[in-house]
């Protein structure tokens, strides 16, 4: 199953290079499902999965197209591949398997009961609400931010651009603390909010602000990359043809950035669902009120309620896998587009 693409023919190629005079019939690998590779670019697009075992045929070396492949030492390539697989297995797969096994062993029924209880339900609803709000806000303001930062030129643009990356440098705890210092007791905005009776710290609004803070860069950056790649050609054409800026946005810009937007929103959803440190600090994880799925797991683990903790963790992991599949679909599409249009 493990077979480096270049392995079979490589040895043959290396032997050929050393022993055989040019022009003599040589053994070559002919990948049956694809046309003979003429360039590295062509090879790159050969189907990955189900390429099948190479068939060996005799082809005169003279008529063979120039071989543009990397003659990696077969053993070296296999060793690197094996090392990578073992590493990923140990670091990623084994822990995931442990979670699944332990969640099942701790009892799925128990976990469902814990989640169906009012506290569990409230935590799940809070998490889903946070994801929904993050998607809505980042879906709109993220596009606006990307357009302004990539397309507009105005004083202070670089400063705003630098602000976008700041949340990535923040530890979640620091994000929570920063919001707490604004809205908490004796916080900067506390005098403004107190008369209105709106509670932000240790309440749902504070968790919303934290979630928006930590998810802010994803859509702005992903959409921004696409905008940079695309250039302004299409938009200029639309404007020349008489489209209003609004029409240009809906008919040209938005469809063009769709894949960047999907990618950014997938990352946003994953982060909003999985955020822990920030919502823990700002929300206080009050059972039945400001608990989210993650802080619910944390509390359950602290109380040694293993079934609820592991079951909910497995549920979150499963939800993440679904998001991952979406991410993968977008990435595959992106790669296809990139391979299809060189440059």
């Amino acid at each position: 199953m493990l077979e480096l693409r270049t392995s079979e023919g490589d040895e043959a190629a290396e032997e050929e290079g050393s022993d055989r005079p040019a022009g003599i019939a040589a053994t070559a690998e002919a990948p049956s499902p694809t046309p003979p590779p003429t360039s590295g670019e062509g090879r790159k697009r050969a189907p990955v999965i189900g390429a099948g075992a190479p068939t060996r045929v005799m082809v005169p070396a003279i008529v063979r197209p120039p071989r543009r492949r990397i003659r990696w030492n077969r053993i070296g390539g296999m060793a690197v591949t094996a090392a990578v697989l073992v590493y990923l297995g140990l670091v990623l797969v084994l822990p995931l398997a442990a979670l699944v096994v332990e969640a099942v062993r701790a009892g799925a029924g128990e976990a469902v009961r814990a989640l169906a209880a009012p506290e569990g339900m409230s935590a799940l609803v809070n998490s889903l609400l946070l994801v929904g709000i993050a998607l809505a806000v980042n879906g709109t303001l993220g596009i606006a931010g990307a357009i302004v930062l990539v397309r507009h030129r105005f004083p202070g643009r670089r400063l705003l651009d630098a602000l976008v990356d700041l949340p990535l440098a923040l530890s979640p705890v620091m994000a929570g603390l920063a919001v707490l210092l604004l809205f908490g007791r004796s916080g900067w905005l506390d005098p403004l909010l107190r008369p209105s009776g709106i509670r932000v710290a240790f309440a749902f609004p504070g968790m919303v602000i934290c979630t928006l803070l930590v998810t802010l860069p994803f859509t702005i950056r992903e959409v921004g990359h696409v905008l940079e790649e695309l250039g302004t050609g299409d938009e200029e054409a639309a404007a020349t043809l008489g489209a209003t800026p609004w029409q240009t946005f809906w008919r040209v810009t938005l469809p063009n950035v769709r894949r960047g937007l999907t990618f950014g929103l997938t990352l946003t959803a994953a982060r909003a669902l999985g955020e822990f440190g920030a919502v823990l600090v700002v929300g206080g994880a009050i059972s039945g009120r400001t608990q989210t799925a993650t802080t619910f797991i944390y509390a359950a683990a602290e109380e040694r309620n293993t079934a609820a903790a592991y079951g909910t963790a497995a549920l979150l992991a499963a939800a993440s896998m679904l998001l991952l599949l979406a991410l993968q679909a977008v990435r595959r599409h992106t790669t296809e587009v990139r391979d299809g249009n060189p440059g």
């Binding site: 199953m1 693409r5 590295g40 543009r68 492949r69 990397i70 390539g77 690197v80 590493y87 990923l88 670091v91 084994l94 442990a98 332990e102 606006a144 931010g145 302004v148 397309r151 507009h152 202070g156 705003l160 602000l163 976008v164 990535l168 440098a169 923040l170 530890s171 979640p172 705890v173 620091m174 994000a175 603390l177 920063a178 919001v179 210092l181 916080g187 803070l213 802010l216 302004t232 938009e235 404007a239 020349t240 800026p245 240009t248 669902l273 822990f276 440190g277 823990l280 993650t294 797991i297 683990a301 903790a309 963790a313 992991a317 993440s320 896998m321 991952l324 991410l327 993968q328 990435r331």
Partner: protein, 270 residues
């Protein structure tokens, strides 16, 4: 017609205002509050908070574990990218999806996974502890958690550069008699190096900030397994926001310096 002319319209100023307000309220204002809290009691107090023995100990632990993880990630991430781009075997798509897994899995869940695998009561963890190398609630657990959450960074940084590399150069090197190892170090590695370093710096920055997985897996014993973000969390919980803010500023400075370095590397070789 310039880009500016396309973008310019009646709503352009309003749009800029909305974006500036969004970033200002959501990012600049909270961070200003954090910075102010850290320094508002004067430089002596700031220095006192930052040089508390527990804070220094946690900071040192955070820095060395993160540096180690950045190096391991630099090597294994490059190898993984190479396998994804140049290797060809069934199931490579699954491998690629697997690499993205840490982007999706909540960090808290990562911590729980590691405790379930390496906790003192488990087969693996018990065996390791019996041989004098406890994993969960010790430094190895912290390192494993950081390796998990940062795994995609170097891979996804190196992969696109490797994909763009012309295989003809490698072929030429080998035709001229260079061995695989030599071809790799002389031909493949140099153009990849900026991407590898950028990915490793990103790993370091991400590792320094990590909280969710470590708070579960490390056991949070002061002077033994406490890392800086967890120590900040402890300070917040125990009602010392000034100390927490001061240490936060130090961490933030480290992360920002790294982020600028990463940016410079990416920009130069984009």
């Amino acid at each position: 017609m310039s880009a500016r002319a396309v973008a310019a319209g009646g709503g352009s100023t309003a749009l800029r205002g909305v974006v500036a307000l969004h970033l200002g309220l959501l990012v600049a204002l909270p961070l200003a509050a954090l910075a102010w809290k850290g320094v508002s009691h004067g430089p002596a107090a700031f220095w006192g908070y930052v040089t508390q023995p527990a804070a220094v100990d946690a900071l040192v632990r955070t820095l060395w574990t993160s540096a180690l993880v950045a190096v391991v990630n630099g090597v294994m991430g490059t190898a993984t990218a190479w396998v994804l781009v140049r290797g060809r075997f069934r199931g490579r798509g699954i491998l690629s999806a697997l690499v993205d897994l840490p982007f999706a899995i909540p960090t808290l869940v990562t911590g729980i996974m590691l405790v379930l695998l390496f906790g003192p009561q488990t087969a693996l963890g018990g065996w390791a502890a019996a041989h004098g190398v406890p994993i969960a609630f010790a430094a190895p657990g912290i390192i494993l958690a950081l390796l998990f959450v940062t795994l995609p960074l170097v891979v996804r940084s190196v992969e696109p550069v490797l994909r763009e590399l012309d295989p003809a150069e490698e072929e030429a090197a080998q035709t001229l008699g260079a061995g695989s190892l030599r071809t790799f170090t002389r031909v493949v590695l140099p153009p990849l190096l900026p991407a590898i370093i950028a990915g490793a710096l990103q790993t370091f920055a991400r590792a320094v900030a990590e909280f969710g997985s470590i708070v579960v897996v490390s056991g949070n014993v002061p002077f033994q397994t406490l890392t800086a973000p967890v120590q900040i969390f402890g300070q917040v919980e125990s009602g010392a926001p000034e100390a927490a803010a001061a240490v936060s500023l130090v961490l933030l400075a480290v992360a920002l310096a790294l982020s600028f370095a990463t940016r410079a590397l990416r920009g130069r070789h984009a």
